[in-house]
C-alpha cells in the first residue's frame, strides 16, 4: 500500500509539504485530480498518481494546465471533489478557464492549487498568484506550514462547497519543499460516480447567462467575506499597540523573530490564512488602538494596500508599512533574518542576532552550475544545430532541461519566455529580422502548447525550422508521462500514444525528418536541409532521456575512454560539448567511466579518433 494510505488516524509522520498536501486531499475524499507537472508542485501529483493505481481516485497528467482545469470544472460540476494542481505560471495557462468558471461556479468542492516560487528556484518568474483570487473573485487560502497545509486543504474543499465556487489554495516553495511532523486523520470515503444535471441557463456562458452569473459570483464573494471574519484560519495572537499582519511562511518567520527579539508580549499578530476576501472586522479590531502595523508578505503588497484602505475607510490613523526600501522587498523570498531585521527596525527594538562570519577573504570559488547530464541527447542536437546554423542564426528555446543549453560551452538558446513560446517567438524573429531562425522545443512542451505555435506557423507560412527534442518523457520535473510516452513501459494499459511525426505531418509541415541525435553527421545534415527548406520545417530528434532509460533498465552497455597515445589535446570534446563526464588530469582529457553513458558523441567529433568504446561488465 502507498505510504500515504498507511498509518492509523492520530499516527504522526515526518512528511514533505507536498506529501502532506496529497494526504490532506485524500483525507478530504478527493475523487478526481488533474495536473500538468511543474516544480514546486510535482511531488503532490507524483503521490496522487501512485495512489490512483490502488484506489478509485481518478488522476491524470493532462497535456496542459488549461485542459487540466477544464476537466476539473466538469468533474466538480458533476458532483465529485476535485483537485487541480499546477505551478504558479501554469495558472496563466489555465486562467481563461478560471475566470469564467468563477461565474459558472461548482456543485462540489474544486480546489485549484497554485505552487508559487518566490526567488524562482526553478521558475522563469516569481509572480504572486494571490492576485488571481482577486481577478477571478474567488477565495484564496494560504497555509503557513506543512502540518497546516494538510488540514487547510480539507477546509478548502469545504469552503468551495459552502460557496459553490472554486477555491485557490496557494502554497510557496517553502511549504511544498519543507518537511515537518503531521498527524494523520480519518480518510473520508470519496464519492467517485458523478452526475451532471443539465441547466443551460446557468452553465452556458452566453452574455445573458454570464450577466446573471456575475451577480451570483459577487454575492458569493460577499458571503466569503463574512466567512473570512469568523474563519479559524484567520486569527489574532497577542495584544498591544504594535502589530504585524503576515501570511504564509512569513508567519513562521514573524513568530520566530518575536521570540528571538524577546518581544512576544509587545507585538500582536494578525494572520489571515483565508487571505481573500480579507477579514474586514478582524482587521478593524486589530487596527483599533494600534500605533504601528508592519505587513510582512512575500511578493506584492496585496495585504498592505488592503489594510491601508480599511484604515482610510475607518479613519484609523495608524502607521502601516511593509514594502519599503528600509523594510521589506517585493523581490525574492524572505528568511528569518530579513524579517527579524524589519521587525526590529520598524518598531525600534535592538537586534542582537549572531553575525555571519567574514567572507571577504575567500578566494573566488569555482561555480557548480547545473549542466545537461553526461550523455544527454540534447547536447548532441545542440552541437549538430550549431554546426548547421552557425552563429548568425537565431535560436529561440523553450522550457525544459534543454533550457540549460544556453550556458557555455554549448551556448544554444537566445530567447526563452514561457511554455511553448519558442515556435511563436521564432516566427516573430524570422519575420521581423529576416534572419534564419531555429526553435528548440521538448516533446512535453510541444504537446503542452508548442503544437499551437506550429499550426500557426504553417498557416501563416513562416520560414522557420523547429527542432523537437523528443526525449520520450517530461524529464525536468521528474519523468512524468506526456502524450508521446509509451505507457506500457511504465506498466500502464489503456493509454494511447501520440506520434509527433504524424502530428507534424498532418499539420502540413513541408519538411519533416526524424533523426537519432547521437548520430551527429546525420542530425547535422537533417538540420541543414531543414534550414534550406523555404517554409516551416521540423526535425524530430528522438532519443530517450538517459536518466529515464536508466530508470527503465535500458541503460548503457558501453563506455568510452580516451586513448592517451592518440589524443593530441585539441580538446574539441571538452570545449564544444562540455559533457560532465570529462575531466582533466596531468593536462590530458579523461572520461569518468562512472558517468559516461556510452552516447559516442565525443568519439564522433574527435579529430584524432582518440576516443573509443570499452565493453563494461
Amino acid at each position: 500500500m502507498h505510504k500515504l494510505l498507511q498509518g492509523e488516524p492520530e499516527s504522526r509522520h515526518f512528511l514533505l509539504g507536498n506529501e502532506a498536501i496529497a494526504r490532506g486531499a485524500i483525507e478530504a475524499g478527493v475523487a478526481f485530480a488533474t495536473t500538468y507537472p511543474g516544480t514546486p508542485s510535482s511531488e503532490i501529483s507524483a503521490n496522487l498518481f501512485e495512489i490512483s493505481k490502488e484506489t478509485d481516485l481518478y488522476f491524470e497528467y493532462s497535456s496542459n494546465e488549461k485542459i487540466a482545469l477544464e476537466l476539473a470544472s466538469a468533474s466538480a460540476n458533476s458532483g465529485l471533489r476535485t483537485l487541480c494542481l499546477m505551478k504558479h505560471v501554469g495558472v496563466n495557462v489555465a486562467a481563461d478557464v478560471l475566470m469564467t468558471l468563477a461565474y459558472l461556479g461548482v456543485k462540489k468542492g474544486l480546489v485549484l492549487l497554485t505552487a508559487d516560487d518566490p526567488f524562482m528556484f526553478s521558475s522563469q518568474n516569481e509572480q504572486d498568484n494571490r492576485y488571481y483570487g482577486r481577478l477571478a473573485g474567488i477565495p484564496v487560502l494560504e497555509p503557513s506550514s506543512v502540518d497546516e497545509a494538510k488540514e487547510m486543504i480539507k477546509y478548502a474543499f469545504d469552503l468551495s462547497e459552502q460557496l459553490n465556487e472554486p477555491v485557490i489554495f496557494r502554497t510557496t516553495t517553502r511549504v511544498n519543499h519543507s518537511s515537518g511532523i503531521v498527524e494523520f486523520k480519518d480518510i473520508a470515503a470519496p464519492q467517485t460516480k458523478g452526475e451532471f444535471i443539465k441547466d443551460p441557463m446557468n452553465y452556458v456562458s452566453v452574455p445573458a447567462v454570464s450577466r446573471k452569473r456575475h451577480k451570483v459570483l459577487l454575492d458569493n464573494l460577499e458571503k466569503a467575506a463574512t466567512i473570512s471574519d469568523s474563519c479559524s484560519y484567520n486569527f489574532i495572537k497577542g495584544k498591544g499597540s504594535l502589530g504585524i499582519i503576515c501570511n504564509g511562511v512569513s508567519y513562521s518567520y514573524v513568530c520566530d523573530s518575536l521570540k528571538d527579539l524577546g518581544i512576544e508580549d509587545k507585538v500582536k499578530i494578525l494572520r489571515p490564512g483565508l487571505s481573500h476576501p480579507m477579514p474586514d472586522a478582524l482587521i478593524k479590531e486589530f487596527l483599533k488602538d494600534t500605533e504601528k502595523v508592519l505587513v510582512v508578505e512575500e511578493g506584492e503588497p496585496i495585504m498592505e494596500e488592503y489594510v491601508r484602505s480599511v484604515a482610510q475607510t475607518e479613519k484609523i490613523a495608524c502607521e502601516i508599512k511593509g514594502k519599503h526600501k528600509d523594510l521589506l522587498s517585493r523581490l525574492y523570498e524572505f528568511n528569518p533574518s530579513i524579517v527579524r531585521s524589519a521587525v526590529a527596525n520598524f518598531f525600534g527594538f535592538e537586534n542582537k542576532s549572531a553575525k555571519p562570519v567574514d567572507t571577504s577573504d575567500l578566494p573566488v570559488l569555482p561555480n557548480r552550475p547545473p549542466n545537461l547530464c553526461a550523455g544527454c541527447s540534447h547536447r548532441a542536437v545542440f552541437y549538430a544545430a550549431k554546426k548547421a546554423g552557425g552563429a548568425e542564426t537565431l535560436y529561440p528555446s523553450d522550457i525544459g532541461c534543454y533550457t540549460l543549453g544556453f550556458l557555455p560551452p554549448v551556448g544554444m538558446g537566445d530567447f526563452v519566455l514561457c511554455m511553448g513560446a519558442s515556435i511563436g517567438t521564432a516566427c516573430g524573429f524570422s519575420k521581423s529580422t529576416g534572419k534564419n531562425t531555429l526553435a528548440f522545443i521538448g516533446d512535453s512542451t510541444f504537446f503542452h502548447s508548442g503544437i499551437n505555435g506550429l499550426l500557426n506557423a504553417v498557416f501563416n507560412n513562416h520560414d522557420i525550422t523547429v527542432v523537437i527534442l523528443d526525449n520520450r518523457t517530461t524529464a525536468m520535473t521528474g519523468h512524468q508521462p506526456n502524450p508521446g510516452v509509451d505507457m506500457t513501459e511504465l506498466g500502464f494499459e489503456n493509454y494511447n500514444q501520440i506520434d509527433i511525426e504524424a502530428v507534424v505531418k498532418s499539420l502540413g509541415v513541408g519538411y519533416v525528418q526524424t533523426v537519432k541525435p547521437y548520430n551527429i553527421r546525420k542530425t547535422q545534415e537533417a538540420i541543414e536541409e531543414a534550414m534550406k527548406f523555404k517554409g516551416v520545417s521540423v526535425v524530430i530528434a528522438k532519443e530517450k532521456c538517459v536518466l529515464y532509460a536508466k530508470q527503465l533498465g535500458q541503460g548503457k552497455k558501453t563506455v568510452f575512454q580516451v586513448n592517451q597515445d592518440k589524443c593530441k589535446n585539441h580538446r574539441n570534446c571538452v570545449n564544444d560539448l562540455g559533457c560532465p563526464a570529462f575531466y582533466i588530469e596531468n593536462d590530458q582529457v579523461n572520461i569518468n567511466p562512472d558517468m559516461c553513458t556510452g552516447c559516442s558523441v565525443c568519439a564522433q567529433i574527435c579529430p584524432e579518433n582518440a576516443i573509443s568504446p570499452v565493453k563494461i561488465k
Binding site: 504522526r12 509522520h13 515526518f14 516544480t39 528556484f121 526553478s122 503557513s144 506550514s145 506543512v146 517553502r174 519543499h177 519543507s178 518537511s179 515537518g180 511532523i181 511562511v249 508567519y251 513562521s252 518567520y253 513568530c255 520566530d256 521570540k259 528571538d260 528568511n335 528569518p336 533574518s337 530579513i338 542576532s353 549572531a354 553575525k355 555571519p356 562570519v357 567574514d358 567572507t359 577573504d361 575567500l362 578566494p363 573566488v364 570559488l365 569555482p366 561555480n367 557548480r368 552550475p369 547545473p370 549542466n371 545537461l372 547530464c373 532541461c401 540549460l404 536518466l547 571538452v574 562540455g578 560532465p580 570529462f582 575531466y583 582533466i584
Partner: protein
C-alpha cells in the same frame, strides 16, 4: 537564546544529502522532538548544489539565514566553504575533505582551491572544525554511496543535536533500503569512530 538547534547540510546532487536529512527528521519524530526541515534541490539532478536546513526544537521556520547555523555539515569541501556564510563564530563545521570537482574546474576553466587552503579557512571561521576524507571511509564500508551515513556518524559523535547515536542507528536500520542497511550502519559507525579518534 533557545532550545533550538540549527543544522545546515550542503552537498552536491547525488551525494545523498536528502536521505541524511530525512533520517534526522524521522529520528526526531521518534524522539518526540519538534523538527522543521527545508530542502532546495531545484536542478540538483543536473549536478547542482543541494542544501537542506534542519531546525530541531521549538522553531516554526524551516530555513536558516546567514550567520545562524549552529552546525554546518558538508559533504564536499568546496561546498562547505561556499556555505560558510551560514556560520557565526560559534558554529561547528563537520566536513568531508574529498573534493568532487565541479565541471568548471574539472575542465580547467576555473581553479579548485587547494584542500589545505579550504581547511585553513574553515578552521579560522568556526568554533570547532572536523574535516576528514569521509569518501574513503564510505568506500571502505562498501560503497561511496554511503558517504551520507559516514557524515551522520561523525555528527552523532559530536553530540551537537538533540538526538542520540542509538536512535539514528535505529532509524537507519528501519528507514533505509534493506539491502543497504548493513553497509549504511557500518559507514555510520566508521564516521562515528573517526570523529572520536580526531576529537576537536
Amino acid at each position: 537564546m533557545s532550545n533550538i538547534t540549527k543544522l545546515i547540510i550542503v552537498a552536491v546532487g547525488g551525494q545523498g544529502n536528502l536521505l541524511a536529512s530525512k533520517i534526522l527528521g524521522e529520528a526526531a519524530l521518534d524522539a518526540g522532538i519538534q523538527v522543521q526541515m527545508s530542502e532546495i534541490h531545484g536542478m540538483a539532478q543536473r549536478g547542482g548544489v543541494v542544501e537542506s536546513s534542519i531546525l530541531f526544537g521549538d522553531a516554526k521556520s524551516s530555513i536558516i539565514a546567514d550567520g545562524e547555523a549552529d552546525i554546518l555539515l558538508g559533504f564536499e569541501p568546496l561546498e562547505s566553504l561556499r556555505a560558510v556564510a551560514k556560520c557565526n563564530k560559534n558554529t561547528e563545521i563537520i566536513t568531508n575533505m574529498r573534493p568532487l570537482q565541479p565541471f568548471t574546474s574539472a575542465i580547467g576553466l576555473a581553479k579548485y582551491p587547494e584542500t589545505e587552503e579550504i581547511e585553513k579557512l574553515l578552521k579560522a571561521k568556526s568554533k570547532n572544525f572536523l574535516g576528514f576524507d569521509a569518501t574513503k571511509l564510505a568506500i571502505e564500508a562498501g560503497t561511496s554511496l554511503s558517504l551520507n551515513m559516514v557524515l551522520l556518524g561523525a555528527l552523532a559523535q559530536r553530540n551537537l543535536i538533540p538526538i542520540g547515536k542509538d536512535l539514528i542507528e535505529k532509524t537507519i536500520r528501519e528507514k533505509t533500503k534493506k539491502q543497504f542497511a548493513e553497509t549504511n550502519l557500518k559507514a555510520f559507525n566508521a564516521g562515528f569512530d573517526k570523529a572520536l579518534e580526531l576529537g576537536v
